[in-house]
């Protein structure tokens, strides 16, 4: 049944597209070494965040153990994670569920 096959193909394509469109998150993990002011400075410098937003994210990292500091497509997220690694922050990438 061609129509059904076509529908199936479309559904499959759609599901694949949705999968690849799921955004990625840059996660920064707490560590006992990096200074709190240093981490805030890096968030402002890398993402251009305001002082208050950078401070809030830094406190999230410190108190909750991790913070999601950026969401977006993988290439951009990887670029930001790479810059954070350049500053010595412990950052990883994970795809949102």
């Amino acid at each position: 049944m061609p129509e059904t096959e076509s529908d199936t193909v479309l559904l499959d394509d759609t599901s694949i597209e949705v999968e690849t469109d799921v955004p990625w998150s840059v996660i920064v993990w707490n560590d006992p070494i990096n200074l709190m002011d240093f981490v805030s400075y890096v968030f402002r410098k890398v993402f251009g965040y305001s002082k208050s937003k950078a401070q809030k994210l830094m406190l999230d990292v410190h108190e909750k153990g991790r913070a999601n500091v950026f969401n977006g497509e993988r290439t951009e997220a990887e670029m930001f994670m790479h810059r954070l690694h350049g500053y010595g922050l412990w950052a990883t990438l994970e795809q949102d569920k």
Binding site: N30, P32, F38, V39, Y41, H62, Y87, G88, W90, T92
Partner: protein, 163 residues
């Protein structure tokens, strides 16, 4: 993360880094340091050179895992990302080395100082297994003193850059 603790005495020699107070355009960042201190910084840089090999266990903290949940993507990142990171860190150390005798630093130079000295803190702190609640009075070895001195210096540069 570690809050800055100005209540602890650190033997970091004569070294002050701060942004000069001046009206108008953004003033430069000043380095006041004795010749001995600058020589000590140069010696530290030679040790940092050795850490730019990502295969060394001591260097692992400088080259973190990027995709802990995806081994395939991690392999790709290790191939390209790590070599770019090594190149970036080499550039920072060159900038630091070329400005080590300067009395005023540009923003880029101050950032290079901060990144290199903080990387040394990361390696040393990992080796010493530093924790957030460690009692500073128990950090008595020469390596602990170096770690604390680096903390003070990095804190000064962050304050100057953020100002």
């Amino acid at each position: 993360m570690e809050p800055e603790d100005s209540s602890v005495e650190h033997d970091s020699g004569h070294l002050l880094i701060y942004r000069r107070t001046r009206f108008g355009s953004k003033p430069p960042i000043v380095v006041e340091a004795s010749a001995d201190t600058r020589a000590a910084l140069a010696e530290l840089l030679s040790q940092y050179d050795l850490l730019l090999d990502p295969t060394l266990p001591e260097s692992k903290r400088l080259f973190p895992t990027a995709y802990p949940n995806d081994p395939e993507l991690e392999v790709g990142y290790q191939v390209l990302g790590i070599s770019e990171l090594t190149e970036l860190k080499s550039e920072k150390i060159s900038t630091f080395r070329n400005s080590i005798d300067k009395e005023e630093l540009t923003e880029d130079e101050a950032e290079a100082w901060m990144i290199v000295l903080n990387d040394l803190r990361l390696v040393l702190g990992t080796k010493l297994d530093v924790g957030e609640d460690d009692d500073p009075s128990l950090m008595t070895t020469p390596e602990h003193h170096l770690y604390q001195s680096l903390s003070v210096v990095v804190g000064m540069i962050v304050t100057a850059l953020a100002g």
